[in-house]
């Protein structure tokens, strides 16, 4: 799953979608780090109480002490893809998933105060699971009392931007967000169809739909003499069932809208009184489908009236 191809694609995905953090770093499973090893996360309130007790510049002194205790990053880690934009100083943050599923954050800055803010956030967020990080409200930032607008989303609010960046990393590290790490694909061979990547996996399961649902559909269609035309862009769940049913009831057609129209007219001419049309609203072909649908409806009515007439004649 962590193939090099997948990682490169993932970084393109991240870059295209403006996910600057981790854009070119593979997701690392640091097997040696346990939840106990990583510094236990400290609640915001607990850490903030130290700052609230301090006055004026003492608050910043405390912050800088936190900064001094933060392990500096290597030059390679202080790279563009780890940089947090929106700070007047340079700030870098990385995130890794520990073996126990909690995040380990690291950070650095060329400004002592920014480094201190980084350290505070790392103390409060490292050791939480990705989902727990995502639930942290930005209002927590105001607890420290650094500025009146600490919780304001602003281009230049470094503290806020650091928290946002850490949340973005958490999003990428959320289990199931593995779609970012592997490009979804279906491999079709003579013997089997193999899917990889979450999206492909979820689509592939519709190739074998629920047999009971297919039985019910075939029964209903044949009993009521209903023909079905459906578009390629329908939900895969619907297509899966229809494709399976089509092996037993021949009047099911899945195609593009032009062919759908032709098949519908054919079915109407063959006497099918009810037509069910499964179509996607966004498909422009509805422009040329409409007159065809009208014609099909007209043919169905015509066929119905011919049958009635024949019945009348017979009696």
């Amino acid at each position: 799953m962590d193939s090099q191809f997948g990682t490169r694609r993932a970084s393109m995905f991240c870059k295209q979608n403006n996910l600057s953090a981790l854009a070119s770093r593979p997701l690392v499973y640091a097997a040696s780090v346990t939840r106990e090893d990583a510094s236990r996360n400290i609640a915001f309130e607990e850490l903030a109480s130290d700052f609230q007790d301090a006055e004026g510049t003492e608050r910043f002194k405390l912050l800088i002490q936190y900064a001094k205790n933060l392990e500096p990053m290597s030059d390679s880690e202080r790279a563009m893809e780890n940089r947090i934009m929106g700070c007047t100083s340079q700030v870098w943050i990385t995130a890794e998933l520990g073996a126990d599923g909690s995040i380990i954050y690291r950070g650095d800055s060329d400004s002592d105060i920014s480094k201190g803010l980084c350290a505070v956030l790392i103390k409060c967020l490292s050791g939480l699971t990705p989902l727990e990080v995502l639930e942290v409200p930005t209002e927590k930032l105001s607890l420290f009392g650094f500025s009146e607008d600490a919780a304001t989303a602003s281009r230049t609010n470094g503290f806020y931007n650091m928290l946002e960046a850490m949340k973005k990393s958490a999003r990428l590290l959320t289990p199931g967000a593995g779609a970012a790490s592997v490009f979804p694909s279906l491999t079709i061979s003579a013997d089997a169809v193999t899917a990889q990547g979450d999206f492909a996996l979820s689509q592939a399961k519709f190739l074998e739909p629920d047999a009971a649902a297919v039985d019910r559909l075939v029964e209903a269609l044949s009993a009521k003499k209903i023909g079905v035309v459906a578009h390629f862009y329908m939900d895969p769940e619907v297509q899966g069932v229809l494709s399976a049913a089509a092996k037993r009831w021949p009047h099911i057609h899945i195609s593009d809208s032009l062919v759908m129209a032709d098949r519908a007219v054919g079915m109407a001419e063959a006497g099918y009184v009810t037509l069910r049309v499964f179509h996607r609203l966004f498909c422009l072909p509805s422009l040329h489908w409409h007159p065809v649908r009208l014609r099909a409806r007209a043919l169905v009515r015509e066929a119905a009236s011919r049958r009635l007439a024949a019945k009348a004649l017979a009696t």
């Binding site: 910043f60 800088i64 007047t88 100083s89 400004s111 002592d112 105060i113």
Partner: protein, 484 residues
């Protein structure tokens, strides 16, 4: 070209003399004209003569030196005019040293702005009713005040814009679009503000023009020798700052203009940091366009201007289209107004423009020579005091009157071992407001090999005592970081 000028003609003059500075200038009072039948004399919109606080009305703490000259009193004189300065930040008196970013506004300008909105707010050029005529007259009167402030030939040469950035974009998208082609060269410098780089980058991308950048000398001034080498027959434009907002150096405009004339190139002058602080005379400077922002010169935000030689403005096609800038509008096409209306689409920032005029009058009443003299002195004082702090590195040339090296009253600097932003954050705790970052001159910082600088920038209301407070605070801040 069809013309359409709807501004009323102003005819009569009152000459007034400033009791403080002795400067005499003309202030116009509107007369009745066919277009302005409804204007009455003595209307509240006529700008009242700015009154300065008396010399003794507001005395700050004692100056650190005994070197008190007449000019040193200027800040004490005008300070009471600026109500915002009288406040505390975290329990300490505010020391505002971020004037290169924006200036504070005197009561005189604030009153004019309030008078507009409470008394005669009305759309300009469009109505014949009383209020509309009043606002039109005040708006156009302000244009004349701005024209006088820079010694333009006529009010027609002043185009109101939102700010200097918009003014530069205006030139790039009109004259630039028509006259700059593939392979043509635009000469800029590494010290330019982003607003005097990015519009030309956008133009170059569209037209295939080439941008050339003049570097710095060893003492961090504009390298005139390099400029001489860069200018050639393909040069169409030199766009340059008059005064650098980071280095504080004053560039030799007349010399640059004569270089440009040799190759028939035009010169655009970014005067954002000069117009507020020294007398600026477009006739003497000889540039083709000049841009400035109102908010850096005691005027409200949202207003600035482009000055251009009339014939040049007249040759420029419109940029923003809409109401006001037209003569006649048909369904398929329109004809356009003469400058400056041609470049002023839509409803302008009327009150703010009137405020800009009032700011020009306020500064003229002090006398720009006097402003310049004061700033030279206090700028030198700042530079000297800052140089005495250990571990501080100031960027830009040291002022040296003997060799004619001028320097604006601002200093960008770094401190050894302390990030500029950290300095500014701790200084803020003492009520001292300076700026940190790249000051919209990222290329300059890269050229100097630094990430960020801190900058203290002064204006007419900053006193020596404030400079002392800043330097003292800076020393304390540096110790703060050393002691942790």
């Amino acid at each position: 070209m069809n013309t359409h000028i709807s501004q009323p003609r102003l005819r009569s003059y009152h000459f007034r003399t400033s009791p403080e500075s002795g400067t005499t200038f003309a202030s116009r009072v509107p007369l009745l004209t066919p277009q302005t039948k409804h204007v009455s004399h003595g209307s509240p919109f006529v700008v009242e003569w700015p009154r300065h606080a008396s010399r003794n009305s507001h005395v700050l703490s004692v100056c650190a030196t005994n070197d008190v000259s007449i000019e040193t009193d200027l800040a004490s004189e005008v300070r009471a005019d600026f109500p915002l300065l009288d406040q505390e930040v975290y329990g300490k008196p505010l020391v505002y040293l971020d004037n290169a970013a924006t200036s504070q506004k005197p009561k005189q300008v604030l009153d004019v702005l309030a008078a507009y909105y409470t008394g005669y707010n009305s759309n300009v050029h469009r109505g014949v009713h009383n209020l509309s005529a009043k606002s039109t007259t005040a708006y156009e009167q302000a244009r004349e005040q701005v024209a006088r402030f820079v010694n333009a030939d006529s009010w027609k040469e002043i185009v109101y814009t939102r700010n200097a950035s918009e003014a530069i974009n205006l030139v790039a998208n009109t004259w630039g679009a028509e006259n700059i082609g593939e392979g043509d060269e635009i000469v800029l410098s590494v010290m330019e503000h982003h607003s005097n780089i990015v519009p030309w980058q956008l133009l170059a991308k569209r037209t295939g023009a080439v941008l050339r950048f003049v570097g710095l000398t060893e003492d961090e001034r504009l390298d005139m020798e390099e400029l001489r080498g860069l200018v050639n027959s393909r040069t169409k434009l030199i766009s340059i700052a008059h005064v650098s907002n980071t280095l504080g150096c004053v560039n030799p405009v007349e010399e640059i203009v004569s270089l440009a004339k040799e190759v028939d190139a035009k010169v655009l002058l970014d005067a954002c940091q000069s117009v507020p602080h020294m007398p600026v005379d477009v006739q003497a400077l000889g540039c083709d366009w000049l841009v400035a922002s109102g908010h850096k010169m005691c005027a409200p935000t949202g207003i600035g201007f482009l000055w251009g030689k009339y014939e040049l403005l007249d040759s420029m096609p419109p940029w923003m289209g809409g109401g006001e800038m037209i003569a006649d509008v048909f369904l398929e096409e329109s004809t356009y107004a003469e400058p400056p209306s041609r470049f002023e689409a839509g409803t302008p920032a009327i009150g703010e423009a009137i405020g800009l005029g009032a700011a020009c009058e306020y500064l003229s009443a002090i006398g720009m020579d006097r402003v310049y003299q004061y700033e030279t002195e206090i700028g030198e004082y700042l530079h000297q005091k800052l140089s005495e702090v250990e571990g501080i590195r100031i960027y830009g040339p040291a002022p040296d009157s003997s060799s004619g090296i001028e320097r604006a009253a601002l200093c960008s600097f770094t401190a050894e071992g302390v990030h500029a932003t950290d300095l500014a954050t701790i200084l803020d705790q003492s009520g001292i407001a300076i700026r940190s970052g790249h000051h919209c001159t990222q290329p300059l910082h890269r050229h100097l090999g630094i990430n960020a600088t801190a900058r203290a920038s002064l204006y007419v209301y900053n006193t020596r005592a404030e400079v002392d407070a800043f330097v003292e605070g800076l020393r304390e801040t540096i110790s703060f970081f050393k002691d942790i």
